[in-house]
């Protein structure tokens, strides 16, 4: 017996592979080019930057910009760089992230699986909410928080993040949940699981990819938020982005591009870590074997 036998050998340079990896590499270049420039710039001294070639690697590598961005850059009279705001950002991020995802996913779940009166109207309002530039709502939010007695507290900020994250996240969750096999819900109801039981034990575990997406959206949004951070926090609780903004966005005076780049890269590290870690949640065929259709 001659000829092919057993599993098809995987040719490394098959047409499909060349196309897939080729495209990805190409796109990666487009995506990485700015990163390259940033990293290179952050490793150069100011005089070298002034000379102009943005693509060139540094002639003289210096880590001073990174040190400065992290620990020395001044914000007003406080000269401790981004390190100052880091823990504040973490303290803001965690409750906001947990709460916003919890609220939105439960909303999405309620909207997709349980009938309640006015749910459509609720949904429409949320969607319209997604389109309002949040700055327009600044004063209403301030007034609202003031009347709730939350203005200026970290919980006020958490509430704001939760609310402004709600439209997109609710939509995200709702649409994903709605595409899960309906019989799963039925089986769980027969098995005596209630609203929360179904949500926690069935919906949540089979929707991990979408939770990963939601986490990515929220970590990015909350971590990078600057506007709400300054408006609703106080100087001692300013998030890292206020420092970042102060380092980067000075109107007058000299622009230290290398420090700016280093600061931006430093600020992006945590979301980046989250993106990388979320990989495990993007699992394949998670509902395999559930039903036959």
């Amino acid at each position: 017996m001659s000829g092919p036998r057993g599993p098809r050998p995987r040719r490394v340079l098959s047409r499909g592979n060349v196309f897939v990896y080729g495209t990805l590499m190409l796109v990666s270049v487009y995506y990485l080019l700015p990163l390259w420039v940033m990293v290179m710039t952050s490793l150069k001294g100011l005089p070298e930057i002034r000379m102009g070639n943005i693509f060139a690697p540094p002639v003289e590598v210096t880590f001073q910009p990174w040190v400065k961005a992290w620990a020395e850059a001044c914000t007003g009279i406080n000269c401790d760089g981004l390190s100052r705001g880091f823990w504040n950002s973490v303290r803001i991020l965690i409750p906001s992230l947990v709460l916003s995802i919890a609220v939105a996913s439960v909303n999405g779940y309620a909207l997709s699986s349980w009938r309640f009166r006015g749910s459509e109207t609720f949904f429409v309002i949320l969607i319209v909410g997604a389109f309002i530039p949040y700055q327009v709502l600044l004063y209403p939010v301030v007034i609202l928080l003031r009347s709730l007695g939350l203005y200026g507290s970290i919980w006020g900020l958490v509430l704001v993040h939760t609310i402004f994250g709600m439209p997109i996240l609710t939509l995200l969750f709702r649409n994903y949940f709605a595409s899960l096999p309906e019989d799963l819900f039925k089986a769980a109801r027969v098995d005596g699981a209630g609203f929360w039981g179904i949500y926690l034990k069935i919906i949540l575990p089979v929707s991990l990819p979408i939770f990963a997406v939601a986490a990515i959206i929220q970590v990015t949004g909350i971590w990078n938020d600057f506007f709400f951070g300054v408006v609703f926090a106080r100087p001692e609780t300013y998030p890292m982005t206020v420092q970042l903004n102060n380092i980067v966005n000075s109107v007058q005076g000299v622009k230290e591009y290398n420090v700016n780049m280093a600061a931006t890269l430093l600020t992006g590290l945590l979301p980046l870590a989250v993106y990388f870690a979320s990989g495990k949640l993007f699992m394949r065929g998670i509902t395999a074997g559930a039903v036959k259709v």
Binding site: K186, A187, V190, G197, I286, A288, V291, V293
Partner: protein
């Protein structure tokens, strides 16, 4: 035998469906359906594909919101109650296994929800897994199971629980004959032991006949007949039930009744011995004959003359497809006999087992 096991608990209606109507959008699937299931009864639902059996089970379970009517379980009107408050266990036609849980997790989920102690749960799961022969699979997820294994997990998920009413939607359809026979016996035994009420959808006539206390035959969302298996088989209430129950199915001869005889084409048969109230004379009528109630008579005996068209081996015996005056009639014959295609035989029906229907109303005479 069908009536004597489990019959002990029979009393008033335990599950009762009253005037149930359900529509999916504009498609009316259940049309004012009424059915009463006695306590401890094993009721089998039979009916053509798409007649509304699954929909009925879903309505009883409270999984779809009914358009009109009432559902009573155990003397309570549960029409508006949540599924979990109805005391039911269910096997879904599509299995609906929890994809992220192992088989063990799937089986124990319902029990955990009832806050049963861990050791009891473990004991039950093991017992059910043994019955269903899925013990080696307890740590797999549904995605790594074969079709029949999945189906068994689905059954197991219902069986582990103490439900008052079990709703089984074609639970054995994807199992091999041997396993199916074993599980049939197990189910019967469990039912006899626990005395739960069972509503069981199946397409397998043997399953229906052997398991059921009573069988309900449905068609287009309406119950056609609700009777014991024997009665259903021997005395179908109408043409539909007659044609539907029994495999291979009853042969139908359309003719006329006149002078106490049934006339079909140029031939006729005496109606002597027919168990119904067949009128002496009636315009059009239909005579139904089951293959096993027809004998191939030696030449000369009174009967219908027929031509052999096809001979199908069925394992235990053979099925002879014949043509009587242009109508198909099938006859069950022993394997040994040989009737070549095209040969002419005389068929002698046992009139005591035949069924006669009014051609207009299709009701049994």
């Amino acid at each position: 035998m069908a009536l004597d096991s489990g019959a002990a608990h029979l009393d008033a209606a335990f599950v009762s469906v009253r005037d149930l109507t359900h529509s999916f959008g504009t498609v009316e699937v259940l049309k004012g359906l009424d059915i009463e299931v006695r306590n401890g009864e094993f009721l089998v639902l039979l009916g053509p594909s798409g007649c509304g059996k699954s929909t009925l089970l879903n309505c009883i379970a409270g999984l779809i919101e009914i358009t009109d009517g009432q559902i009573w379980i155990g003397g309570r009107n549960v029409t508006w109650e949540e599924p979990k408050d109805r005391g039911i266990g269910m096997v879904f036609q599509s299995y609906a296994l929890y994809p992220h849980m192992t088989v063990h997790g799937n089986l124990s989920f319902g029990l955990k929800n009832q806050r049963m102690p861990e050791d009891q749960i473990a004991a039950r799961v093991v017992r059910v897994a043994r019955i269903l022969q899925i013990e080696p699979l307890l740590d797999r997820k549904p995605g790594a199971l074969s079709g029949g294994q999945r189906q068994r997990v689905a059954i197991g998920r219902a069986l582990v629980r103490d439900a008052d009413v079990f709703l089984f939607d074609e639970p054995l359809s994807n199992l091999d004959a041997k396993l199916r026979a074993e599980l049939r016996v197990e189910l019967k035994r469990l039912h006899a032991g626990l005395g739960n009420t069972m509503i069981y959808v199946t397409h397998d006539q043997i399953e229906a006949m052997t398991l059921a206390d009573r069988i309900a035959v449905m068609r287009d969302g309406v119950i056609q007949q609700l009777a014991t298996p024997l009665e259903l088989y021997d005395r179908p209430a109408n043409l539909f039930v007659a044609g539907f129950v029994g495999s291979p199915s009853m042969s139908m001869l359309d003719g006329r009744i006149a002078g106490g005889r049934f006339h079909v084409g140029g031939q006729s048969l005496a109606l002597d011995g027919y168990e119904g109230r067949a009128p002496g004379t009636l315009g059009a009528a239909i005579l139904g004959l089951r293959p096993e109630h027809i004998a191939v008579a030696p030449a000369g005996v009174e009967g219908l003359s027929a031509v052999v068209e096809l001979c199908e081996p069925m394992g235990a015996d053979k099925l002879l497809w014949t043509d009587v005056e242009g109508r198909k009639v099938s006859v069950r014959v022993p394997v040994e006999t040989s009737h070549p295609r095209g040969s002419r035989v005389t068929l002698a029906p046992a009139m005591g087992k035949a069924s006669l229907f009014d051609a207009g109303t299709e009701a049994r005479l």
